[in-house]
Symmetry: C2
Subunit: 236 residues, 2 copies
């Protein structure tokens, strides 16, 4: 079965968490909206009036007859099918819990540059963004990173559940990558205090399929349209 | 097995989505932090250094040996055990997708009064809150409600998947309740355009176990410490 991934073609965004899982699983997939006419196809699928499981927003994944949306939900599905999650119920719930916590962090990263409205330009909410980013750097980012460090300490690492990588590990890798891009100064400070998170990031980056993906054209570069945005004023 | 629910005892908050599922399931549970000494027990469990699956934040549920956090993840678990979700994989993923979309809306509701930082007082971010609430009323709330209305139109109602209530229906009920409390003016306008959402809300409220719960002392009243807050200036 060839998966069809639907996501905005200009950015990594939330779609990237799905792309990383598909790549690590060596799954057969097409990134539909990056093909000619694909973005129109994505919009049509979202608007299809008789769709029984319409997505609220991208990303979504077509898997045979299934149409699955919500990043963490897509990963729940892929994790089970491609051994990117433990087999036990306890293990599956735990990895999903970690993914949902990562998703919460991703919302907070987004809101550092869009604290007022996703439909407004950054330039129209710069003052509020500066305040929100202050709070993020001082309180929220350290809290999340401290939590992940703690979990890795208990598991013994290098991954969240020990020696096998799960989709939550791929997602934390992506968050660390994004933080390097968007908050280089903050990232340096966080790295010093969270060596296990640093090691997880390096381990995932070195996995052969991930490494090949990151060097490929399939990996869209970070840019100032995505979730992680390099606005120097928000990092100091 | 008696479940132990852990959540802040002063508010409905995110814990309420779990409480509603437990009540509808007629599950045996104790709301630990509302008992004498319970809040300390909750904090101790969160901080337990050797915990292998520590929660990032409440709510969390102790179910035998399992310690499960993240609201949607707890509901995923309870839904399967208590027939509050379809049995098919497609159905389970769909209801979880809806729950995650409701969770996104809940974050946005919270951020109408806390757009800058959850650790700051509302009074310290009132100006930003006014702007964020404007955007929420004008764009975000109508978008979410329009989406839910559309889904109910396709399913035929009265519930998201048709004739059987799932945890996502209980959660949408809670959102509508919260909107009535926090945004009475906006809610009136939304109700006119979204009759199927209104009907779902009424149907859930009339379910015998839910109705009994809502009248009981187990239901904490809405207040201005929770996610849904009645600040008149954010509703006009």
């Amino acid at each position: 079965m060839r998966y069809e991934l639907y996501y905005w073609p200009q950015i990594q965004g939330r779609g990237e968490f799905v792309r990383l899982a598909l790549e690590e699983a060596e799954a057969d997939y097409v990134d539909v909206a990056r093909k000619p006419g694909g973005e129109g196809k994505m919009m049509a699928l979202m608007a299809a009036p008789r769709s029984e499981t319409p997505p609220f927003a991208p990303p979504f994944l077509k898997a045979g007859k299934l149409l699955i949306a919500q990043t963490a939900n897509i990963l729940l599905y892929l994790g089970e099918r491609h051994a990117l999650a433990p087999k036990s119920q306890a293990g599956r719930l735990w990895v999903h819990q970690l993914q949902l916590t990562i998703a919460d962090l991703v919302v907070e990263v987004h809101d550092t540059h869009h604290p007022i409205g996703a439909g407004l330009y950054y330039e129209d909410q710069k003052r509020e963004a500066a305040r929100r980013a202050d709070d993020f750097r001082a309180h929220r980012a350290p809290k999340f990173f401290g939590y992940f460090e703690r979990v890795l300490g208990v598991s013994g690492g290098p991954y969240f559940t020990g020696r096998r990588a799960t989709y939550a590990d791929l997602s934390l890798f992506q968050v660390v990558e994004g933080m390097h891009y968007a908050f280089p100064r903050l990232s340096k400070a966080l790295a010093k205090k969270h060596p296990r998170v640093v090691e997880l990031h390096q381990r995932v980056a070195a996995r052969p399929r991930v490494a090949a993906y990151l060097k490929s054209e399939r990996r869209i570069p970070f840019n100032t349209m995505g979730i992680f945005r390099a606005y120097e004023e928000l990092d100091s």
